[in-house]
């Protein structure tokens, strides 16, 4: 095959997220093989390729070898695709090559698939199609015994689609998630562009991924990307590592709700930053997020809270205890609380629904309480992808996000959550229990504040009926972060202070 020096044009599929990992879409005017095991959403992909096209004003032809058009019309309705209506409008045509119940099929002598090709060509002309889906090849190989003939004929069909300038998707089944691209040697005639859909079982959890194996002569994102299939939408690919770090960064500061904490952060949180609040249970994380949202409400900013650990009533009752009226904020349209159990859906679906809520409510502040609850329901990889996806999305919206994370131990320690996400958050605030002469106190420190100076002290943190209060630094105790407390004599503190001259050199910005 001659190498085409010109840039290969793309056809944006309209499948959310897919065009991103495909660097713009499927190669235009070519046929892409979409291969996957049973239940890997091949038919959904093939249908959505056409449905998204119809929604973009392009007509499509669906060649079905397996399911009847009636079944497809019915099954795809759940994704919001009214195929019957599109057929009436002449924007969708079926070529029904599914097994017919009434006719017994016998083979006597040589044959070809000219009739199928003629029907496809006819349907393409009739609706003026630019897109064709064929689903799925295994079915036709099963019915017509001579695989060599079928292979040759399919090659003829693919060639013909190409000469008509059509962009096509052909699905094929594979028996294993890893190994041959497809059965029956389909890769022999569709070799240029291959997409693989996987439905993996990892740690007893189902995880769907899509991988672009190759686009000949052109670029695409490498590796598997998680996707989910959701009612009303179909396939939604989560582009994760393909996400570009191109969000604008703002110097505008917003208040955390605590003037003292704002001071510790060098003047408040940045407007489009992600703040991680980590602490053991009961150290005041929920209070921190409540204060953060109440502070927004005071300035007329909307906040959206995703709570995965407590019910609405519990949250409202807690807030009242700290002098914050959630109900009033909700009535004023300044707050929306979304509570659900993370166990209900997978993280991919959770991400999509969080994104939808954010786009609908358009808040200035988003709080997630807590991320650790989500960590429970996923694999580590899936969780990391979720956090990256969410963080990137929030930053693109130019809003502030506050995540809470629960440490597994009461004293000191870090959680898996932190280990995986600390590098992608802009600020980290630690809340820790401090044992002080036989009494439990709370301590707070700003561990990281990207792009700004911040207070390095560990300060006492107290909670009462008016909310949170930040007091003096713990000067005579060390080992708070590790949970191995050591009390330091005042004379030693004096000596150390003199050694480092900390007071003369306050608030150096971090790199």
């Amino acid at each position: 095959m001659a190498t085409d020096v010109s840039v290969i044009e793309r056809l944006p599929t309209g499948i959310p997220g897919f065009d991103h990992i495909a660097n713009g879409g499927l190669p235009r005017g070519r046929t892409t093989l979409v291969s996957g095991t049973a239940g890997s959403a091949k038919t959904v992909f093939a249908s959505q390729f056409l449905a998204a096209g119809v929604q973009l004003g392009e007509a499509g032809v669906f060649v079905t070898f397996e399911e009847s058009p009636a079944a497809l019309r019915r099954n795809m309705l759940g994704f919001g695709w009214n195929i019957a209506e599109w057929e009436e409008q002449g924007r969708w045509a079926f070529v029904d090559a599914s097994p017919q119940a009434d006719d017994e099929l016998m083979i006597m002598g040589a044959y070809d698939l000219s009739a199928l090709l003629a029907r496809i060509e006819h349907a393409v002309r009739r609706v003026g199609a630019t897109r064709v889906s064929m689903d799925s090849l295994g079915a036709i190989f099963n019915r017509l015994a001579d695989t060599r003939v079928v292979r040759n004929e399919l090659f003829r069909i693919v060639t013909s689609l190409k000469s008509m300038g059509l962009t096509a998707v052909i699905t094929a089944e594979r028996t294993h998630e890893y190994g041959d691209i497809g059965r029956y040697g389909v890769e022999e005639f569709v070799t240029d562009d291959v997409v693989i859909l996987r439905n993996l079982l990892e740690e007893e959890k189902r995880r769907r991924t899509v991988e672009i194996l190759k686009f000949r002569g052109t670029s695409h994102q490498k590796g598997g990307f998680p996707f989910t299939v959701i009612p009303g939408q179909g396939i939604v690919v989560i582009p994760l590592s393909a996400i570009e770090l191109k969000q604008r960064s703002s110097n505008v500061r917003i208040s955390s709700g605590s003037p003292e904490l704002d001071r510790m952060c060098g003047g408040g949180f940045f407007r489009d930053s992600i703040i991680l609040v980590s602490g053991a249970t009961g150290t005041g994380k929920t209070l921190m997020s409540t204060t953060f949202m109440a502070s927004g409400a005071l300035r007329g900013e909307r906040s959206l809270l995703f709570a995965f650990e407590e019910s609405r009533d519990q949250l409202a009752r807690n807030a009242i205890g700290w002098g914050v009226d959630f109900e009033q904020m909700e009535q004023d349209g300044l707050l929306r609380v979304v509570c659900n159990y993370p166990e209900v859906t997978g993280l991919e679906d959770q991400l999509i629904s969080i994104q939808d809520e954010i786009l609908r409510f358009r808040p200035q502040r988003v709080a997630i309480d807590s991320l650790s609850a989500l960590e429970r329901v996923s694999t580590i990889k899936g969780f990391r992808e979720f956090v990256i996806g969410l963080t990137s999305f929030i930053k693109h919206q130019e809003m502030a996000g506050l995540y809470t994370s629960t440490t597994p131990t009461l004293l000191g320690g870090t959680s898996i959550t932190e280990a995986h996400i600390s590098t992608i958050t802009d600020s980290i605030i630690l809340l820790r229990y401090v044992e002080l002469f036989g009494e439990m106190r709370r301590g707070l420190t700003v561990l990281k504040m990207r792009g700004s100076a911040h207070d390095k002290d560990i300060r006492e943190f107290s909670i009462d009926g008016t909310g949170m209060h930040i007091g003096r630094p713990f000067r005579n105790i060390s080992g708070i972060l590790s949970g191995q407390f050591t009390h330091v004599a005042p004379s030693e503190i004096e000596r150390l202070s003199a050694l480092f001259r900390d007071e003369d050199n306050p608030l150096l910005p971090e790199g």
Partner: protein, 100 residues
């Protein structure tokens, strides 16, 4: 063959243009109508899917040549250029073989 012999037989042959395969199938069927099925009123219709893809769509034809015995019921569908002995073909079509 069950029941009384039919008086009329309707055969539809779907071909793609005038390919050697199509010619072979047509010749076989013509011969069949003239010889083995001479007693019957034999209605052989040739449909070119290239000229008339709608008919192929309506009958959901995949391969060419495809022969459909439309009458008597039930329909029978045979794919291929019919390069088999007449008695085999008649059996496949569920039609009586009278011999010569």
């Amino acid at each position: 063959m069950n029941g009384p012999a039919p008086s009329k037989i309707v055969l539809h042959l779907y071909v793609a243009g005038r390919s050697p395969r199509a010619e072979r199938a047509i010749a076989t069927l013509r011969r069949l109508c003239e010889r083995e099925l001479a007693r019957y009123e034999c209605d052989l219709v040739i449909i070119d899917v290239l000229a008339d893809p709608q008919q192929a769509e309506a009958r959901k034809i995949l391969a060419t040549p495809t022969l459909i015995k439309e009458f008597p019921e039930p329909p029978r569908r045979i794919i291929g250029d019919l390069g088999v002995p007449p008695e085999e073909l008649l059996a496949a079509l569920n039609l009586p073989y009278d011999g010569l």
